[in-house]
Symmetry: C2
Amino acid sequence: MTNAEERIRKELIQRFGDAYKSFGLNKLMGHVVALLIYAPEPLSLTDIAKALGRSKGPVSQILRRLRDHKLVRKAWSPEDNRKDFYEIEPEIFENAFRNNLELIKNNTRLAGQLKEKVASAKKVNKMDVLFNRMVEMETFYKLMEKHHRNFLSEWISERNKMIKN
Amino acid sequence: MTNAEERIRKELIQRFGDAYKSFGLNKLMGHVVALLIYAPEPLSLTDIAKALGRSKGPVSQILRRLRDHKLVRKAWSPEDNRKDFYEIEPEIFENAFRNNLELIKNNTRLAGQLKEKVASAKKVNKMDVLFNRMVEMETFYKLMEKHHRNFLSEWISERNKMIKN
DNA sequence: TTTAACGTTTGAAAAATTCCAAACGGTCAT
DNA sequence: ATGACCGTTTGGAATTTTTCAAACGTTAAA
């Protein structure tokens, strides 16, 4: 591996770690994702642990979470090999976005529920300000959901074009 | 305060804490935001600390962060009062979204930088796969930025309509 | 000049998260 | 069967984050 490549690899891993952490995720998740994005071919658990200077334990757990979130998947490996190999999920960006969309939907649901509850409590007492705020919140997230869906379909068609080339 | 109101207040605080945590933020941030969304009038540092059963220290620091992020602001308070009062920033949702947009932009920038670096390393060695992935990543975040901007302007006009009523 | 009422900072404690080494269970080759 | 090689699970250690109590600086009244 050339020096230039090695530098890029290091930076990729470092920056993805930071980015993941800034989104409230585990830094190691970002490291693994970066490593797999970088790697031209699938890597085994041991490869990954060694490359990141970690033990198998946490890497195994992180791989589980990454597969749950559909950011990473098991690669096919020859029948005579008992080792598992991992690679980046080709739709990693789309899937990451879908995960985020779930969080948005949680908020829409939360706002709706709270709005209803406030509405019934309003009979008893003046809670108009709070009610309006819940309405605003629900409107906000509903609109956000709409835009996210638009984005998703536009991205999918955009990506299909990219793949063709 | 009626029982119904009290239950709603508790739930609001609890759920906002969870939501903030799920976005990688401090739970207490969510609690404070919920409390201020609930409160019909501004609250002092001591009010907030007492209502949440915390000491002034962490609440003071959280309020600082919330003001940095423009989710909370100091309310006007009479000249003869040395106490500070805090209230929800009226544009809290818009601002929260703007903060998120900054993270997106970081990712766009990151992808662009890495793409460039890979491009120059490519002369030396075959890194086509990695280059294509960086291109995909950059495309993804650029498209996302575009949609986020669209959302923002639509939300602002939507909200203006809400305020008029 | 003191005293009192604030918000902030700070150093250490408490809690939560991350991490490892070792144990474990499963599968295949011998 | 036995041993070798996997990935996962687990208990506790290490690290990071959150929290508090106390000290501090500032401001205004006494």
